[in-house]
Symmetry: C2
């Protein structure tokens, strides 16, 4: 019996690792995820990733409708929070994966599982996933903006990922929006990520709370106390939803910055569709009025109103599916369409 | 005898019309230019363009090494200051061509000269020219930034112009750099063009002069008096060159903005080469230190230091050559490589 090839997609984020086993039509056979503490080092992180891959494979096999020997792993695609060195298969990211600098992620996985592996930026992987199976199917100018711990951008142009010089992944999240804004590790003041990412939202709320004191009566104090941790973007969204004025101010400011970053993306690319994803965009309805107002007020020299904003559809699984797709594209290029 | 096909390239700017007759290898047979007063209306402007085309053709024919009947006009390519509607062949630009809104520029030229004509954005035409015959030959990720009356951006990716939805030309000149900056017709405050274009430089110098008064002793007063017109970017460059502190301040500020805009362009595209052109960039050495410092300070997450900044090589003729190339590309696509 001919074994059915499957691929594994790995999505390595700053706080979570997600792993999925996929068939060649993009059907997710099994999916697992686990928190990662990047600062405990790449060795521990890689061991976790290997365990999760093994788990996903075992579960995919045991739950398969067909007999176990019917499934055969063909490759592993990894999408990792950037920067990465794609040609070396190395993670170069001490920023959102503390201590992960010059980490070869492909060799250990290739030797453990005996199959090829490929590395993409996580935003690129998610964009490929949405283009293949999600909200961006068939879109010839597709921008994807992922707002989570940081802000990632990716661009799928005529069905292919846009890459810069030396195949590098662009980082639109570090465009400068406000040169008087807060400093970022990228060297800028007021880059997009420093103003509109989940990290920025949490920090801005913390700063405002600290300056106003507990007496401001913000719901954020209560949420932070209950959770026994610092205010984060999720709490800000929850408090804003409940009408908390301070949280609403933070959302308004972040929405302005989010909108301005989209204005610039539109000025440079004029895409047909911009997909919005990432944890922060789960609360997109809170941001939507200000984002739309900012876009409507700008860009009269390009048809900005024709650019459609959509939410991603695959959610947390986009990166996994897209990383698997990247591996499949590579297998097809290398070995023909037989896979 | 087989006639040798030639094309005419037209570069319609906010203040000048340039026209060239080219052979199919990109050799400029004849070139003419004349000032245009756009606000006198499209009819007068179109008549001027027709006259210039006829002049360029006549001169190309009379000066040709071969007999006159040897040259045959095959088409006319136009690059016009945007926005344009490429599919309609119409200029939609009341901004830098006052009164030119919804002006069909192709039909009159096609009927007058009996050949096909095509319309491109001027920045796109200049980019094609530099890619074909200038400083961008063979560059697979080529960005071109034209700093003149406004700021135009164009991107030649793998040998083809990047176009957005509906084939529109992006307008990176209207990315927002500083939301506290001066208002622009595009709807933004502090867009790139409003901070670093020749117009912006002239206006900023005028404002600073007005606020400081003649007693500031700036050389700009003298230059403005001598020329009997308002201070413009050329005078600012001249005064800065001579060490005038106010002019140097204006150049420093514009250079900061120019650098930030390039930082953002690099973040989004990570091109191999950025070509700088337009009237203001004739004084690029004045801007260079601050531009390079701004880029060096930012973008640590992409290999910005590998991005090469070059000056355009074709200068004032880039648009004409590129517009001719656009026509040739179209003729080759439509009629095969026989032209």
């Amino acid at each position: 019996m001919t074994p059915q090839p499957i691929v594994v997609g790995v999505d390595l984020g700053g706080t979570l690792v997600r792993v999925g086993a996929l068939d060649t039509r993009g059907r997710l056979l099994h999916y697992v995820e686990a928190p990662i503490e990047a600062r405990r080092g790449p060795q521990e992180g890689l061991a976790l990733i290997e365990d999760l891959i093994q788990t996903a494979l075992d579960l995919a096999v045991s739950q398969a409708a067909k007999p176990a020997e019917d499934l055969e792993l063909a490759g592993i695609g990894i999408g990792a929070t950037g920067p990465i060195d794609r040609s070396q298969g190395a993670i170069q990211n001490p920023y959102t994966l503390p201590t992960w600098e010059d980490v070869d992620i492909l060799t250990p996985l290739q030797s453990r599982f005996g199959v090829p592996a490929t590395l993409e930026n996580d935003a690129d992987a998610a964009a490929l996933g949405e283009y293949w199976q999600g909200a961006g199917q068939g879109i010839q100018h597709l921008a994807v903006v992922t707002v989570g711990t940081g802000i990632g951008t990716a661009f799928v142009y005529r069905g292919e990922l846009y890459r810069g010089l030396g195949e590098v992944h662009p980082e639109g999240g570090h465009q400068v929006i406000d040169p008087q804004g807060p400093p970022c590790y990228c060297g800028a003041r007021g880059c997009w990520e420093s103003l509109a990412s989940g990290t920025a939202i949490g920090r801005r709320a913390q700063d405002l709370l600290a300056s106003r004191g507990e007496g401001s009566g913000s719901l954020l104090w209560k949420l932070s106390q209950e959770a026994q941790k610092d205010v984060d973007a999720r709490m800000v969204a929850q408090a804003a939803q409940a009408g908390d004025p301070l949280a609403r101010q933070v959302i308004e400011e972040a929405g302005q910055a989010l909108g301005l970053g989209l204005v610039n993306l539109i000025a440079f690319f004029v895409p047909e569709v911009i997909l919005l994803g990432g944890g922060v965009m789960k609360s997109y309805p809170l941001f939507q009025p200000v984002v739309e107002a900012v876009i409507a007020r700008h860009n009269v020299v390009v048809p900005a109103r024709q650019v459609e904003l959509r939410l991603v559809r695959l959610g947390r699984q986009a990166g996994v599916i897209g990383a698997g797709y990247a591996m499949l594209q590579l297998l097809n290029t290398t070995f023909g369409d037989g896979v």
